[in-house]
Structure formats: C-alpha cells, structure tokens
C-alpha cells in the first residue's frame, strides 16, 4: 500500500480527517444515542446516516452519474422494489451462493470473517517480523515472508476449504485474545423477512438492483421498440448483512448502488462509440499478474488492452473508459485509480469476467465500481424457471432455408391433461435445441416416451414425461425468417458510498502549518453548497442584501447559504472550507455605499470585488464551467480580505 498523503503533501491523518467529517455532519453512525445508552443490546454497526452536507454531496454525485451515463446514452431507468420474494433469489443463485466464510470464536462467542482474519493476522506478522503475538516468538525467515506475501496477493482466491487449510497450517487465531477459532462456515449475506399476515412467504432485501432490471427485460425491450443494444439503469438502496463491519463507510450493511445493465448481442460485442474512449490510458492489474504474486498495475490505452485481449471486448473496454471519465469528473485523484481483474474463485457466481475500479484510500485499494460480464446467466435462469422467454427476436435480412428437427405437441390432449401447466410445457418444448431434439427423437422411437426439463410446474417439479401420443419429433425443412438469442449483459455497478468516502479522502488537506484548518477541495459541480453568503456585521441593513442575493442565486439553481451568525468572518470561512463550499460572498459597509461585494475562492483564499451583477455573473460562469477563477481574478478588482491570513488566525 502506498503511503497516503493529503492533497498538499502532508501525511494523511485519518483521525483528524474523520473528526472534520463528523463535526460538519457529513455522516454519523446511525442510532448513535441508542448505542451510547447503557442497556443497548442491538447492533448498529455498518449503518450510517448522512447529515445535510453528506446528503447533498451524495445527491450531487448521483446527479452527475445520471447525466454522465443515463442521459448521455438514453438508458432506461427503473425503480424496482427492494423486497424480493425468495424464489427469485433462489433462481438467481443468491440464496445458495451469496455468502461469506465466517469463523466463530467459541470462547468469546463472536464471529470473524475468515478471509479478513487470515489477512489481518498475516499482515500483522509481516509487520512485526515474528510468527506469533508474544515478543519472543520465532522470527520470520525469508521463505515464510515470501509465502505470506503470496497468500496475501491472492487472498480473494481461497474458498472455504482453502481458508480452513490456511487457518490450520498457519495457526491463525483471533488476534484480540489469541483464541483458536472454529473452521469456516458459510454465512448468507442477505437480510431475510416474511411478507403478509400468514408469515408463510419468505422475502429478502435485495443485495443488488440487477435482478429487478432483468425480470423486466421483456417490458424494457418492448419500451425500446425492440431495438438492440440498449441499457437499463437503476439507483437504489441495497443490503448485505456483513459479518463484522468495521471500516466506516467502506463496509456497510445498507448502501446506495447505481447499476447499469447493458444488453448486447453475444455475437456483436463491438461498441459504436468505442473510438471515443480508445485512447484513454488505464492502469490495469490483470488476473495473470496477480497470480504471479505482483501488485503493480500496467498502464496502457484501452485500444491496446482490447487488441491484446487483456480486456475481453470493445463493449467492456468502452464502459471501463466511461467509468474512468466519470471518476475524474467528480474529482477523484487520477493517481489513485486502478482497474483490477477478479481472480477465478473471487468472481461472483453469475459472472464470467469482472474488472473492479479500485480507489486508493488510507485503508488501501478499495473496490468502488465493479464492471462484470454476466453473460446470459441471469436471463437464462429466470427464463427457465418462469417459462417466460427473455430473448431478442431479430428479423433476418434474408430468410434462410433450414432443415432440422421439429417437435409438435398434441394440444388437444396436453391442454386438458396438464391444465395451467400446459403452456409452460409448450414453452419448454419450444426451447429445445437441435441436438436435444435429435437425441429425444431417437429416445421417443425407442421407448415411446421421453422426459424433458420444464419451468417449475404447479406441483413444484421441473420435469415432465411425454409419451408419443403427446409428442412427435420429425425432420422438416422450413424458411427461417428470424433469429432468436438471449442477450449478454455487461454490468457497471457503482458503490456510491464508497466513491463518496474515497473522494472526501482525496480532496482533504489543511492550510500549511495549521492542521486544525482543514479544507475539502470538492469540485464546484459536486460541492454540497456552492456559495456562502456572509454579512460582515449584524447591522440590520446588510441582511436584506444577503437575502436578495440568495434568492437570485436560488433562481439560477445555485445552492447557497446565508451565515449571519455572530462568529468572526474567519471562523465562518473556516467552517465553510471544511464543508467544501467553493465560493464565499461577503457583504460589508462598503456594500451599503456602492453596492459592491467581495467574492472569495476557497482553495487560494484570493478575493475579488465588484458590483452585485458582476459577482453573480462570475459565480454563474464558474458553476457552468464557462470561466475559470484565474480569468475572474484577471478581470475583476483584487481585494485584501479582512479577517483572512495571519491576523485572522489569532482571532479564531
């Protein structure tokens, strides 16, 4: 992990940083006054509330995301429910596979996430240079150091058995008390509840927005007038019952995800706008590099990466480029971004490939955006279970004469016999491919009956036997006019809370030599409040000027706040520097005389002075990005602010 430094070069002090965020109410642990009460037996870990500036910052990031992705590419946005019936997540594989491995400390009774346990203990041993907790433990030899580093480089690649083996071999114990732990068991990360008064129907809180989007695929394709490729998108809360959340906003149990599902013909993974991102340089850490024990990323253009097949295809490359542009746009530090490919065992059960955009924070490199190729996995399993075809039908430019096997069900018998299951048996037969039909034709003529897979039928079975009275399979020739396929899905998925936290670390610094005067250099487009309006004294004639300016800016949709408190102007600036407010307007007695106002820029603390109209034009230009601060300084009159600099610091 690289040593973290603040924007202006000092060493990053997380405690100081977090105290700023809490003091300014960017966020707080949820239900804090309960956790502090003596009898609280609940668990509020991994739950955070956003205060006014955090809430506005989050809204601005989401707004930027919507403009950058949804509006720019006419994606179809959905808002689906969080509550999800069990059969949906059983089919998607989450009920069986969406789990982490945990170890119980049988003496203390608490639970530890197995991979984090191994990671923490080995890192601690490497840092100490010894094999155990106590001072005179055996020293680490070079071979062991190499072995530990190798394990850590691919820690995400171990399954339950692998973790159990590591814990046994390396005598890994609960670092808090040196207790031995029980072998890892899987713990499903979904919150479970029941719906309705009978409590008979289990439901889960969704762990991702994706499933809701997939289930609406037919309606989405129809809304898009049948045209491919296209994308749906969704922004909403998702839930993961983390085993032992500890790292602040980075590992939480309730979080905002912004997800895109891009549906594409598996035979056409080129992207029409690929050229727009081809020359963007990305730092890439691919699978092979990690398995060789390396952690240094290579930089190359997206074009090179796709040509050399490090990135699988143009569509995946296109989205990695768009992700990079988005992160830079909201103010993420370019030198603290890398794209890491998932290892084989780490990859989610539904994906065939995945690249994470990781951001460097004081906790190390953190996955903030995942970009997975989910292939046709989800649409296929939901189609199969429900009997609803989630497919694209494409008219062929020229009809093709094909000879092949054709199955025909005798509806007159099938209907009455199978009743409401009949149409699902029909759709199962229709879905059989040529190889299956050939096999079944032989079997049918040999045994007089075949068994085929079906969607879940009313008695819960997923197979049915069909005799030759019901089913005939024969070889026929026909003119094929349409092609049918299940689209592949490329899924960029953004953890908004993690991006927000990493961004705050990246823009945090303090005035030289004064660690108590923190500044958050948030870009104007993202800052919670754009303009502070501060009357310099409590003279009653200054307030109407402040309110008039505030209303004028509000009409231009420029978020502003009046601080007419009795605090010194230096204190008011300092508070707003910590809130990341980029601009400040002060109103003084001069304003009463000639209508002029002072405009101050947060990072440089430089001030200029001009008439109200001039100041409003300057603010508007800055917010819209049509003018830079340097241009404004060049054309407006400079002003030596009262209450800035040394003389003010003493009055704080």
């Amino acid at each position: 992990m690289a040593a973290m430094t603040t924007l202006k070069g000092d060493k990053f002090d997380r405690q100081l940083f977090e105290s700023v965020l809490k003091r300014r109410f960017f966020f707080t642990e949820a239900f804090e006054i309960y956790r502090l009460s003596p009898n609280f037996k609940g668990d509020n870990r991994g739950l955070f509330d956003y205060g006014p500036p955090g809430c506005a910052l989050q809204a601005n990031i989401v707004d930027a995301w919507r403009k950058h992705f949804v509006l720019e590419e006419n994606m179809l946005e959905l808002d689906c429910t969080v509550i999800t019936p069990e059969p949906v997540l059983k089919t998607s594989g989450h009920v069986d596979k969406f789990a982490d491995w945990m170890c119980k400390d049988p003496i203390k009774g608490d639970y530890l996430r197995a991979d984090h346990l191994v990671e923490n203990v080995l890192r601690a041993r490497l840092a100490r240079g010894t094999r155990g907790l106590v001072k005179d433990s055996p020293k680490l030899d070079d071979a062991t150091i190499d072995e530990y580093n190798d394990i850590l480089a691919k820690i995400d690649n171990y399954d339950g058995d692998g973790l159990a083996e590591l814990i046994r071999c390396h005598d890994i114990r609960n670092p808090e008390n040196n207790n031995q732990v029980l072998p890892p068991t899987p713990f499903n990360l979904m919150f479970k509840s029941t719906i309705g008064p009978s409590a008979a129907a289990p439901v889960y809180l969704r762990p991702e927005t994706a499933q809701g989007q997939f289930l609406n695929f037919k309606k989405l394709l129809d809304y898009n007038q049948g045209s491919m490729p296209f994308a749906s998108a969704s922004i909403g809360k998702c839930y993961r019952n983390e085993i032992s959340p500890r790292t602040g906003l980075l590992r939480v149990r309730e979080f905002l995800l912004a997800e895109i599902e891009h549906y594409v013909d598996p035979n056409k993974k080129e992207h029409p706008r690929f050229r727009e991102v081809a020359d963007i340089i990305l730092p890439l850490l691919d699978r092979d590099t990690q398995l060789s024990g390396q952690t240094t990323s290579q930089t190359m253009t997206i074009d090179e990466a796709v040509k050399s097949r490090i990135i699988d295809n143009e569509t995946l490359g296109y989205f990695l480029g768009r992700i990079m542009l988005f992160l830079l746009r909201i103010g993420i530090d370019r030198s603290k971004i890398r794209f890491r490919q998932h290892l084989a065992n780490e990859i989610a059960h539904y994906a065939t490939d995945c690249w994470d955009a990781e951001l460097l924070t004081s906790y190390g490199w953190i996955e903030c955006v995942g970009c997975a190729d989910r292939s046709a996995y989800d649409l296929t399993v939901h189609s199969k279970y429900t009997g609803t075809a989630l497919v694209v039908k494409e008219a062929l430019l020229e009809p093709v004469r094909v000879e092949g096997w054709q199955a025909i069900l005798d509806k007159k018998i099938v209907g009455p016999r199978f009743k409401k299951d009949a149409k699902f048996i029909q759709s199962a037969v229709a879905a059989l491919d040529q190889a299956a039909l050939e096999r079944l034709a032989t079997e049918l003529s040999k045994h007089g009956a075949v068994t085929i897979d079906t969607p879940a039928l009313s008695d819960g079975t997923t197979r049915v036997e069909l005799t030759k009275e019901l089913l005939s399979i024969s070889r026929v020739a026909h003119l094929q006019t349409t092609r049918e396929y299940i689209p592949n899905v490329i899924e960029p998925s953004f953890g908004i809370g993690r991006i927000l936290y990493a961004l705050l670390e990246h823009v945090y610094w303090h005035r030289p030599g004064d660690a108590a005067r923190a500044v958050l250099s948030l870009p104007l487009a993202i800052a919670p409040t754009k303009v502070l309006i501060a009357p310099l004294s409590s003279h009653p004639q200054l307030n109407p000027i402040a309110h008039k300016l505030s209303a004028r800016l509000r009409k231009l949709n420029i978020a502003n706040v009046i601080d007419a408190s009795s605090a010194s102007i230096g204190k008011r600036y300092a508070r707003n520097d910590e809130l990341g407010t980029p601009l400040g307007v002060t109103i003084d007695f001069g304003s009463l005389e000639d209508g002029s106002l002072t405009l101050r820029e947060r990072d440089s603390m430089v001030q200029v002075r001009g008439a109200e109209d001039e100041v409003v034009v300057a603010i508007k230009g800055l917010v819209e990005g049509t003018e830079t601060w340097e241009q404004i300084v060049a054309r407006m009159e400079g002003f030596r602010g009262r209450g800035e600099g040394e003389e003010e610091k003493e009055r704080l």
Copy 2:
C-alpha cells in the same frame, strides 16, 4: 363519492386508464413473470416497479418537492438508514402500537383487514338495498340506512373492540364466500429481520423516515448553529406489511415518503411567513363535522381557519397552505383536493392533531399527505430511554433570580457504585422538575431513600433507589440564565406514490370520440420527457439534424428523446401523448432545404414552424415558464401538420 370524470368530461374508465399506464410502462407489478409462473408460492402483492416514464415522473415530483420545501426554506436534508434496531421502535411506540386489526377467515385461511371488511360489506348492502348477499334478503329500512351511513362516516374511529362489536351485531362475513370470520386481532405492520451473524439482534424496516431524523436532533440543532425554529427533511423508502393490499399503487408495502420535521418552540407557534399563505382558500373537513355524520367540506381562508381555531395554530396553517401550493404546482386538480382532520381513535399514537390532504380518485378520497402535530412526544421518549437530552437551550435576555429545590448527587459514591450507569442516573436527577423535587425531598427526609425513574440501565431496569447518603435535596436560590425546552414537531409527510397515481388520474383524458387515443396532460415541469424529436422519414440526412438538436437540448438540461422508428408520425405522436410528452419537433425534407422545423403542442395538437434557433428558444421559454404556448403561436408561423387529425387517424 363524486362521479369521476376525465379532464375533458367523459366518464373515467379505470380499466382503459390502467391499460395505458401499463402499456407505456409507467409501472408494473413487481416480479410479474414469477407471479405468472405455475409454481409461485410467494407474495408479490403491494409491490410495484416503476418503468422509465414512471421513474422519471417520480424523480421530477421529488425534485419539485425538494425545490418547493427544502431549498425554499433551507431545510436540513438527511438520509438515514431504513434498517432500524428494535429498541428504537419499541421506544417510539411502533412495536406495540403500529398495527391494523385483521380477521381470519378460518375456513378459507385468508386474512382480511377488519375496517375494510366492515366498510366493503356495508357499502355493498347500501348499494344493493338489502341486508344480505342473497336476492330475497330483508330490505334495508330507513333507520338501518342511516345507521350504516353513520358507521361509514366514522369508520376510522373504531378500535378492535368496536370493530368486533360491529362485525357481531351486523353479521358481517367474508364477502367472497359468506364465511363467518374470527374476531379482529392486531397485526403489526412492520417487516422484521435480524442483523449480524448471531441473529440475536432484531431489526425492522422503518415505517416512516421520522425516527432517524429525531435521533439526530442534537446534531441537527448544532449544524443549524443552535438557531430555532428549523426543519429537517428526508426522502426515502419506507415499508408497511399491509394485510391485504389490493388497490394498485394506493396501498403498497414499499413506498417513497418525503417527510419534513419542523421543530418549533411550543410557546411560539406563530410562523414568520404566515402572511404569505393566509389568504389561500382551503376545503376543510374538520373532526366535529365528520362526527356529526357529514362528509361535505367547508371552504375558508387559512387565516379564518386559524382565527376560529379549526386549525390549531399558525405553523400548522402555514404548512397546510404550502402543501396546497405544492399539489397545484405539480398539476393536481384543484377541485379534487380536501383537507380532512383525523378522528380521535384514528390518530397515530404519537400525534395530538393531524390533517390529511386527500385527493379524489376513482377509489374515492385518498390520504396523500399527512400533516401531524407530533408535539414533543418522540423527542421526549427517546431522551428518556437513552439519557441523551434532546432539548433546546435558549439564553434568557435577562437572567431571572429563582428560588427552588435543588438535588445534589454525591459523585464520589455514585460513580464507583453505578459505574457506566452513573451518568444516566445523573441525567435522570437533573431532569426532575420542581414538583417532583418537592415530593422527593419530603420522602427522602421521611424514609431516608427515594426511587426515581431512569433511562434503561445496563441491567435493563428503568428505576433506581437512592439513599440520603447519595442524594440530598434542598431549597436554594440561584440566577437562571437559560431556558430549556423540548421542541414540538409539526410533520408534513408526503406519500409520493399516491400523489403520482392521483396526478395521473387527474391529467388523463382522450381525444374526443376516440377512447383509444389517450393523452396525459402532465405539466411541462413534471413530464418525464419534455420533447419528442421525430424525423419524418428514414432519409439518412434527417438523422444528423435530430441528433444535433437532441444534444443541444440535453445541454440545456431539457429531457428529450429521438424516435426515428418506421412507425407513422401519427403513431409516434399518439405514443408520446400517452407518455405525457408536451412537445414534439418533426424534421422533414423542408428542414433539409431551409433548416426549418415543426413544433407541436400535445394538448391542442397545434403546430408552428420556424428555424432551429427559433424552435429552441420557444422550447426553452416554455420549459422555464417565461413564455406560454399561446404567445408562441402568436409569434411563430402556423403549420398544418401532416399526419394529424382525421386523415392520420385512419392510418394508425
């Protein structure tokens, strides 16, 4: 219930209306393809997904809400977690009291909401004019008709016993099968789950955003630099496990709430901006009118209502006025709004008074906004349980000399004996009022010990005995410099989904004589898409003009969509009329020649023609509200559209 009519006077046809909304994917039942599959044992009732136009409409309503309330009054917006530990909702009263009464049909096994059961059966009897289901049931006499109407007028006023009595006396049965039902039992409406791997800590999905806001009161007051009154606000998903949701978007289990908590000094319920709303006329249906069996609202100005104490105070009146203005702003029909006061038994356990803004829909009058006076209830109970004072301290202009009782704890003994409970005992003693102190002083001198109420201590008890070695109470004089009070809370709470649904009913109509050509006359500010861009033919030179115009509008933040499909222009207009798109621009061969475009207005279907710049200026003026369509028609050249009117209808 008034007969519903559409905007243009025809009778409202709900089936036709809903088919438009589903066809255009405003919303859909969630997990529909699962519900349609033969083996689905789950329950997806009361769960709905918003498709692209519904999602955009919802976002625009939320955006209008944020501008109208949060930005206009500098409210402090929060984003708190949905998952809530049990102790919080136990304290707030929701675990014990947030329930509906339900009756089980013991034969069929399903559950019915008791008040809805009574209501539906009595309404059906009134409509049929007989006492039972069968044809030759006894006819209703006038006395019974009056009795039924009286019950219906105050149906919300019955508790469990009252409902049981009604069901017994009037022989009310399950209307589906005439089965007798079991007596009503309470069913808690919160979804329950557990958090963490041990599954020992119960949590609920919040039923309202309010509790998260209250728990942050101290931080909010601090963020607001101690200044009162102020408001916090929150927009987020909330959950109610409805017993038997049936009425589409109006009774759902997962829904978006936008809530304001306005904190006010209980002695100062005047509102500084009251004059701005004083003359607004509201239709009011107060408690006394309902209890007299009437359902007709009286109209009067807010000023009159506050003066005559129909509305309790200025602050409540101010918010009712602001709610009215908001509803009108987003396009709700003025004649379909009324404000109804809650009856005594209907009122939530936390509120002392409540007015609902009800909107008239084809389902009758529906509560869409609640405006409750929660007094100091919530802040008091949370303070008491946690031992954290949720109070305002106000410096008195002049210190007051007061004589009174003072309690002193001997910290040297209390600290070691009670350990971490000590500070909570301290805060309990500090919270005792003068009357309590006087009583305790007597008791202490008589018995040598007293017992006082405390926050929940570490052993779970909420009382402690203090002997005279630990506690002394005496009469002293001191100078009081501050006043301390728990603020009252006025809470306007908006059900966004219900407002959205009512709005869609209010703006729905169809072209005269053609029920198949539906129009949604959504206001420009709220419409999902503002402009349809349609090239009239598939000529390749028309598309670049469309894309250039689209990018230009996007830059102005005007949501637009290109429809270059091969459908006739009439069909494309019709589709967009159903989507509520207010404006359409067509590009034809004339555009290639002279750069002119056609601009069409949805409701009137009138078209004008002008150069691209002229058309963009017109659109911008309409979106920003600086110009009306009539003004544009007056200054731009009229145009007889191809493909509109009779001749086009035939080509549809």
